[in-house]
């Protein structure tokens, strides 16, 4: 089954410093990978996706993610963190990469990012 893992429950970083939120994946076939962000009492918001092509994917709010096939990782990054980036971040993988009908997502457990002033 397609799955992702987020090894860190929480990441703390000082404002202005670079941040990384880790995600590893386990898939059969080509991976379709996503990052979402969730603010308190809100639904998930799409940040970026990797389907094919460049290993470095740029997304919303200055975030980017690096796809690494050899390490089966898809880490989320930002060069300079903002306090407003504090939120819950989810990595996700499309359930079935070989079917037109199966594009539901499996989500990781989420990583809480805290950016301190």
């Amino acid at each position: 089954a397609q799955s992702v893992a987020q090894p860190e429950d929480q990441v703390n970083v000082a404002e202005g410093n670079p941040l990384t939120v880790k995600c590893t994946y386990s898939v059969s076939g080509n991976p379709y990978l996503f990052w979402y962000v969730q603010y308190p009492n809100r639904g998930l918001q799409f940040l970026l996706k990797y389907i094919t092509g460049d290993n470095l994917v740029k997304g919303s709010y200055g975030f980017e993610a690096e796809f690494n096939k050899s390490q089966t990782s898809f880490h989320l990054k930002k060069p300079s963190a903002l306090v407003s980036d504090s939120a819950l971040y989810f990595c996700a993988v499309r359930v079935d990469s070989n079917s037109n009908s199966g594009y539901a997502l499996n989500f990781g457990k989420g990583t809480s990012l805290l950016v301190t002033p």
């Binding site: 009492n41 639904g43 998930l44 996706k49 389907i51 499309r94 199966g102 539901a104 989500f107």
Partner: protein
């Protein structure tokens, strides 16, 4: 800015009562997903529909949960009878036929079963 609308935002009820959660997908989106979020299990996919037809509801307890799309503008998730372990935040998301979504999420229904 188009949004997925979920009602109610909050629901508190007693065990055994029927609960109905509603979702209005973004106009033109033909796929609707239901997720449940809890601290212990994280985000779980319950069911999803395309063009109003159920594609997969394997994540949903069949004995008490049911999901339907009466029309293209309304999806419902019902629990009958409700139990305390059903307490969670239920999210609806919608998307297009594109193979590589993003899914657009509503703000959820926070359900508490006493």
């Amino acid at each position: 800015d188009a949004r997925v609308t979920q009602t109610p935002r909050h629901k508190v009820t007693e065990m055994g009562q029927e609960v109905t959660m509603r979702c209005q997908p973004i106009l033109g989106h033909n796929t609707v997903f239901w997720y449940r979020q809890t601290m212990m299990q994280g985000l779980e996919l319950l069911a999803y529909f395309r063009n109003r037809a159920p594609l997969d509801d394997s994540g949903m307890p069949k004995d008490r949960f049911s999901a339907e799309m009466p029309d293209a503008t309304l999806a419902t998730l019902k629990i009958q009878p409700s139990e305390p372990r059903d307490s969670a935040v239920y999210f609806c998301a919608s998307g297009t036929r594109d193979r590589t979504p993003p899914q657009h999420f509503g703000d959820g229904t926070r359900l508490s079963i006493l």
